[in-house]
């Protein structure tokens, strides 16, 4: 559960479009209101949407089921007469992560062999698919759902034991998590420091009481954080080969008294897909791909082994660097990976490979001497992701502003602030062309201008104007632009579907006559749909790089 973050309008529009496409216009209406108002109670929602009571309840149930909306309990005053109220808050990130569902399924199919035997790959895929389709399910429901998918058309029935075992594997690898309860405290709203100072300070005693109340309520949230990946007793199997037991021992925690950790009697456990873990895997994949491109396959294999071993210690998605790991542990991880995937390259001397990686000027891997196991190594994840983003930014600048524009951008990135004349000399471009490109990039949000006046009147003729590139603001700008592009593509796809709805209906009914009369139109529709949907999924990959990693 992350703290509340401001919702960008275009991201909200995109989320509404996705909800309408997948969950219907009723859910879209409710979601739209929640994204605009951020937190609403039931009466406020009823007034704002104009839906009937039954429709509103149905929509909220579906949105909660699919993790698009999270209910919280709002306590107005401690020990007061006002009862606690349930409020609903949209989870914008969870809604936008639904674009990544297909990618998550492919990730499970392609990488399950590294985690468990390939024979259970289909079971794992069906479990994730069942959870993506239904939002939240209990373990029994999952077993029946998966058994139905696997046994369709087959005489043999998949035993529920193997499905539960695979579910345990998924939970221990954090792909699947428990659904959060409905009575968690609301996340803290981040207030700008200047707003705090403007409001005026509370008295110290009142502030201390408020902080204490806040901490007490936050225990429940901390309790859920620790319970998220705990495997319950009924799911744990007795076979020795299962990793569930070791995972459950690793996750044994002390439950604080009177908190959500103490499960209600008879309360079922609902499981859902953990998009945070999938994003973490995709982030690691991006780092490994960068190292593969910068160095070679052996370095990439070493990096993959480090990340696989240290993944369990990461607590947040955007970790700065991996945990320090010794060469011996990395070697053991590499051997384990090699036993599951024979296509990995052979690395006879792991320590030498690590030393070569560390000596590289890029600085992707850092080492620290000492420690009981010798020298430890860690990957600078933040730096890897920033390099990957820089490469993507260069590609965007080159596509939009050409080679000269890219040269100008690189010159400013390396040198910092420069005047227009200096840029022209270093970038080897024409004065007029350089000026046009600079102003074009300024308009696109890729550049910033600083004026340094010589006199107090700030006259233009007596002012220096320097140009600079700010990668952080450019990252944010490209992230928003990517969401905007996704919205445009999704809208166009929706319009195409509406314009050709009659034709698609006839195709559904397998009407042979339409092929003769509308064959060309159907062919064009097919090409357009393929292009738009594949573009949408590719844009989501870019959005993940700039917004989520």
């Amino acid at each position: 559960m992350s703290e509340q973050q401001p919702l960008h309008p275009i991201a909200c529009q995109l989320a509404c479009l996705l909800v309408e496409e997948q969950l219907g216009p009723l859910c879209k209406e409710v979601c739209d209101l929640l994204l605009r108002k951020e937190t609403q109670s039931l009466p406020e929602l009823s007034r704002g949407t104009g839906c009937s009571r039954f429709e509103l309840h149905q929509a909220l149930l579906v949105l909660i089921q699919h993790n698009c909306v999270q209910p919280y309990t709002l306590v107005h005053d401690e020990g007061g007469s006002t009862p606690a109220q349930t409020v609903f808050q949209p989870d914008l990130r969870s809604i936008l992560y639904r674009f990544r569902s297909a990618r998550c399924l492919l990730h499970i199919i392609d990488t399950w062999g590294h985690i468990d035997s390939p024979a259970t790959s289909k079971i794992a895929e069906c479990i994730i698919e069942g959870l993506l389709e239904n939002g939240r399910l209990t373990s029994d429901q999952l077993c029946i759902n998966v058994a139905g998918k696997l046994d369709a058309g087959c005489k043999n029935q998949t035993p529920h034991k193997s499905i539960k075992r695979t579910l345990c594997q998924l939970i221990s690898n954090h792909y699947v998590e428990r659904a959060p309860p409905a009575d968690l405290p609301m996340p803290r709203v981040t207030v700008h420091p200047k707003a705090l100072s403007k409001r005026g300070g509370m008295s110290s005693s009142a502030k201390a009481a408020a902080d204490q109340a806040e901490n007490v309520r936050r225990l429940d949230k901390v309790g859920y954080g620790k319970e998220r990946y705990r495997i319950p007793n009924d799911l744990r199997l007795d076979d020795d080969s299962s990793d569930c037991q070791s995972a459950s021992k690793r996750q044994k925690v002390n439950h604080p008294s009177g908190t959500v950790g103490a499960e209600l009697k008879g309360a079922p456990i609902l499981w859902r897909v953990s998009f945070e873990e999938f994003n973490r895997r995709f982030r690691h994949d991006a780092c490994v791909e960068l190292i593969d491109q910068a160095k070679d396959g052996k370095a990439a294999a070493v990096a993959a082994a480090i990340l696989q071993k240290t993944r369990q210690f990461e607590t947040i998605l955007k970790e700065e660097s991996s945990q320090p790991t010794s060469a011996g542990i990395i070697k053991a991880a590499l051997e384990e990976m090699k036993s599951r995937d024979t296509e990995l390259p052979d690395i006879p001397d792991v320590a030498e490979a690590l030393r070569q990686l560390e000596d590289d000027d890029l600085g992707l891997i850092n080492s620290a001497p000492g420690g009981p196991d010798g020298t430890t190594y860690q990957i600078d994840l933040r730096f890897c992701i920033s390099l990957t983003r820089l490469k993507a930014m260069e590609a965007i600048v080159r596509q939009r502003f050409g080679r000269l524009g890219l040269r100008i951008w690189r010159v400013l990135l390396l040198t910092g602030q420069l005047e227009q004349k200096s840029i022209k000399e270093l970038a080897l471009g024409d004065q007029k062309e350089v000026r046009q490109l600079l102003y074009g990039m300024l308009k696109a949000g890729f550049m910033a201008v600083t004026d340094i006046p010589k006199t107090a009147d700030r006259a233009a003729s007596r002012t220096f104007y320097t140009w600079r590139v700010q990668p952080e603001s450019m990252t944010e700008k490209i992230g928003i632009d990517t969401l905007h592009a996704m919205f445009n593509v999704a809208s166009r796809l929706s319009v195409e579907s509406v314009l050709n709805s009659e034709l698609l209906q006839q195709l559904e009914l397998e009407n042979k006559a339409i092929f003769k009369t509308h064959g060309q139109q159907l062919g064009r529709l097919k090409v357009v749909r393929d292009l738009l949907e594949s573009s949408l999924l590719r844009l989501d990959d870019t959005s993940a790089l700039f917004n989520d990693f």
Binding site: E55, Q58, L106, T138, D140, F515, L537
Partner: protein, 247 residues
Amino acid sequence: MAGRGRGGFRGRGRGGPGFPLAKDDEGNVLSTQIEGPPPLYPELVELPDRPAITSRDERLLRKHRALASFYKKSPYYLKRNSDSGPGTGGVTAEIDRLSGISKKRREGPSLQLSDVMTLHPKYFPPELYNGKQRRTGGSSAKQQQFWASQQADKGKDDQDMNERLAKLEKQETAASKTDKDGKAPGGGEKGEDEDNEEKRAALEDEVFEEDDEDGYGHDDDDYLQGQDYDDDEGYDVDEGGGDDAFY
């Protein structure tokens, strides 16, 4: 003081244009004159190449469409009650409405949310459902039936549009072949002219087959002659009535 009266303007620079000038960074004057009407169309932009769809894209598309198809047919897809009125469901809905076949009879009874969801106060606020709808977990028979029907439909939905088009084309070709072969099942060697004649006949059949089905006929049909065709009909008929006014 002396310069304020008649000579006031003299000290302020001579030969000035009297209006502000736009200048660029080097001090060159920029032209601000309008050079005619704006262009009718914007400049032609060189569009980028169409992106190629890789095998990974195809796999992603398959999974993405399978999920989208599931959501559309699931009880999670909610419409407003006002959306199911007349004129809102397209041709299929209108046909159903006018022919008297109800959607329920065609697709079977619809599922309720409480049949497929585990409504427990721990996860869903109690004010959103009543005690009758509440389920404490475990799979109901209706839920299993729903998943089984989804799995059965999935086999059909997995067919991409291209495959469906290919299937329809094959059926159509087989049907048209059966019609022709029924009359001349043998073959033998045919001359080139006969082949061309056959192809021409096949083309004509293709173009005019719809008309045949509708019974409009061929060359002597006035509808095919165009709007300028004068069939000389209807001018010599004496309708009677003389010169009386027509009301």
